[in-house]
Symmetry: C5
Subunit: 233 residues, 5 copies
């Protein structure tokens, strides 16, 4: 199992009361939060995303990856110390793990892809219907190949599949790197007609996440510009 | 894909505590919110609606359209700076995109319709059953034509279909321009008997939105009249 | 469509914090709320109900009727100005419209019944299964007549059917005037055995509402007696 | 219908903020609540239960019975005056009515059983599947007799069935007097194998309620002992 | 029934406002909470777990076991006195009981296993489909043996099955001792293909709980280190 990684998606929503704090207090709250992220990112993969304008129930997402649960637990303990977490809650949280795919003959990376930081990350938890798992292997392989063939025609979109069986509520956390959400929309609509689609039990909520630095994602919470915060580089 | 637009429906609910603020503070809170909307509207399509009296879980809806996600994200960042958003949350939010219909032989506008600002906009997210997508194209075309034929008999009602596959939880956001909600009620009831209706998985919540200026929709929140606010023209 | 009316059911729940306000402040909060109701009732139908002791999630219901949405919107704007709405929210809200029934050969009044103010109003939203709408008209007529025949044996109970297709989440809002909820219980239990019952998709939540003046329904919120409030006659 | 009674189950959850009040204020808040219960209990049946340690979403349940809705409404109006209700809400509430059973040949008491105050009361709302009601009477009788036969082998457990059709969301509120919850667990598990079990649509949430005086149930909220409150006998 | 034990899983979530209290107040709040746990643990089994970083809706879980409900009720009464419970709620709570399995020929301990304190405890409530209970005993035995055979190939994972029929919403509370959550993920994914899996109605939410002392689980709430709290050994 060497090489498998834990992946954690933590979605935050800021209490409107936080915006009533004065600007200097908010600046400090954000700096503490960013410092925790940046410390983690020295040794591990961490990306931040803004959801301001794409969702109403979450403002910011942190995606972090590590070979064991310990650093992920530690990161969240330290985040809890930040001023921001005194005024924020976590409406969505997904814990998952990378794992080799049995379907794809392409290399499925066990660690986060290098160089794939596109403008958007689209994320959703997924459950398959139970009758899917009772099909025999060759039948599932045949159906998945049809699914994969459609995806290949949208070559600019990269898929990352993570597995949550027994770790968290969902079975999979699927995420996509995309520069053009409209192209992803067309792909998903086309996939509705594939045989595999009928075996999906649930694939919501769907999050369109805007790639960002940690600092920019934080600044989108109260509309301060990055330039105004020289300490958060 | 030139000409396709993003459409965002943002539904707000004001915290009852906001109404405890004094009148001048509320006036300023609303002015800041309106200013953000009006800035956006200089270059883009933006409409406001009041839901006071039609729903209990949301008070106001902003519908905005842009050719990319950037201005929509920026609008919501700036709204977050307004005093109103220190006392409001977003119980519903729908992100969608315009796209040419494969069913209708009428022109389906990719940008918002001009001159269709009727008294009401009725909006709902929609999901079709998965077996719909497994029908072959001619069968789906036949069924949709029956559906469209009923709609044409209610000629004063205009439909706007937007697509959310992969961008947000729902598959479609459907909205209707209408002057008489009672006529729309009759249409929807008649559509229950069409073949296409049996393929609908979900089409709730349904929002009856009252067309309004931004300022009037804001003033409905605390019962101040528009005339009392000369700065918010 | 002359004669059809909009019907709005607005259910309120008071924040426990409201009960911490001093008695004089609460008296004023209630007076403002009652004044808005009484202004509306000068020209329109409005009834108030208490749910204290019958439900845990709502305390008070206002049922109002008007030939257009405008006065209903205006009433709720003015209610938002009252002190009570600074400490209350709206857990349930149903918008509907009267319409002639295709099933009953009895006169179904399009305006609220006169002289039917019984001690209780029992209200619920209803959805039928989609296969109901695919039955042909004569089959639906046959099934509904069996349903109606049972209802007629409970002659003291009057039914009011309102239609919400396309205006709000539910398809119907059904309400019953009754003096004896136990008799209504027997009727509903007996209806479970009718053919029509199998076509019901959902008919909850069910609200047993106690008929009341606006003032008494407000006074039930904090246990003040009506006699103590000479300004609210 | 002489002899039928209304039964109301009111479940309370105290706001954590209530525990921040000083001890004397909490003592007074509880005394007012207990006084309202004790006044009602002079003329009517009322029992209190603690759920501290058995559930996380409710702390205390009041079960009250009366031949009409009026005293139940009055009790809840007076409870709303108590200090405790300024810091509590009602996460669950069930309104029901006693009624003679058509299945059992045992006497089903229409008023609360005398002398059946066991250590625990287990309560749940229940809905049957709609196809249950389409079976003919003899078939339903046969199935229910199998169900009842299993129950009789657990002779120390008494069942109380109340009916909610048309009064509240559920169809039944079923409650059981038991001294040993483990014995009830065995009964319920064994009933899963009966034919009647397949006709159950829902029977959750399930509440294991600890019989208590009103005063002890209140004291369990903040850990004060009964002895410390001489005014609440 | 000698030897059967009650098992209670209490999941807590701290209000963000708690983190705004000063460090000394938080230290005292945690000390009181830990003292209640430690008193209980003198006579009974009690374990604590942190969920910081694995879930977003709960921070800490207490798992306690006793031969009767009384000490479990008492523990939660005393916890309610602690400062921490003035700023915390209980989003999940599961009450269950140990019981001999009819399927396994291995000894299923009725009291908590000794010496099985692995790094993680994975917990979920479970419901089986009603048709499962209508299978005859030999068929259920055959299906469960297939399920158990898969589990035995993951020998380092121990299962604890507790029964909730009639005591709480779920039918079972299943928990697993594991050192490597990735191995558990592989087991659960493989079990999806077994016949028994098709009879599962629901097995979410799934909680990955990090074994901890009470004090460490509390310190993870606000990021204080254990060493800083000499009174909480």
């Amino acid at each position: 199992m060497a090489g498998r990684h834990y992946v954690k998606f933590t979605f935050l929503k800021v209490d409107p009361a936080w915006r009533r704090r004065d600007q200097e207090a908010r600046r400090l709250d954000k700096t503490e939060f960013a410092a925790a992220c940046n410390d983690f990112a020295e040794d591990h993969f961490l990306r931040a995303y803004s959801l301001v304008g794409t969702r109403g129930d979450t403002d910011l997402m942190i995606r972090c990856v590590a070979p064991s649960l310990d650093p992920i637990h530690q990161l969240h303990v330290v985040l809890n110390q930040s001023g921001l977490m005194r005024y924020a809650h976590t409406p969505y949280s997904y814990l998952a793990m990378t794992k080799e795919s049995v379907y794809s003959d392409e290399q499925q990376p066990l660690a986060p892809r290098e160089g794939s930081d596109r403008r958007y990350l689209i994320v959703y938890p997924m459950w398959k219907r139970r009758d899917w798992y009772l099909l025999d292997d060759s039948e599932r392989m045949r159906i998945m190949r049809g699914h994969i063939a459609v995806g290949r025609r949208y070559g600019s979109i990269e898929i990352n599949t993570a597995y949550s069986f027994g770790l968290d509520d969902q079975e999979f956390v699927v995420s996509f790197n995309a520069d053009d959400p409209g192209e992803f929309l067309d792909l998903v609509q086309e996939l509705r007609g594939t045989e595999s689609s009928a075996y999906t039990l649930s694939e919501t909520p769907i999050f369109t996440c805007i790639s960002s630095s940690v600092e920019r994602a934080l600044d989108a919470l109260d509309g301060e510009t990055v330039a105004a915060h020289p300490t958060a580089s």
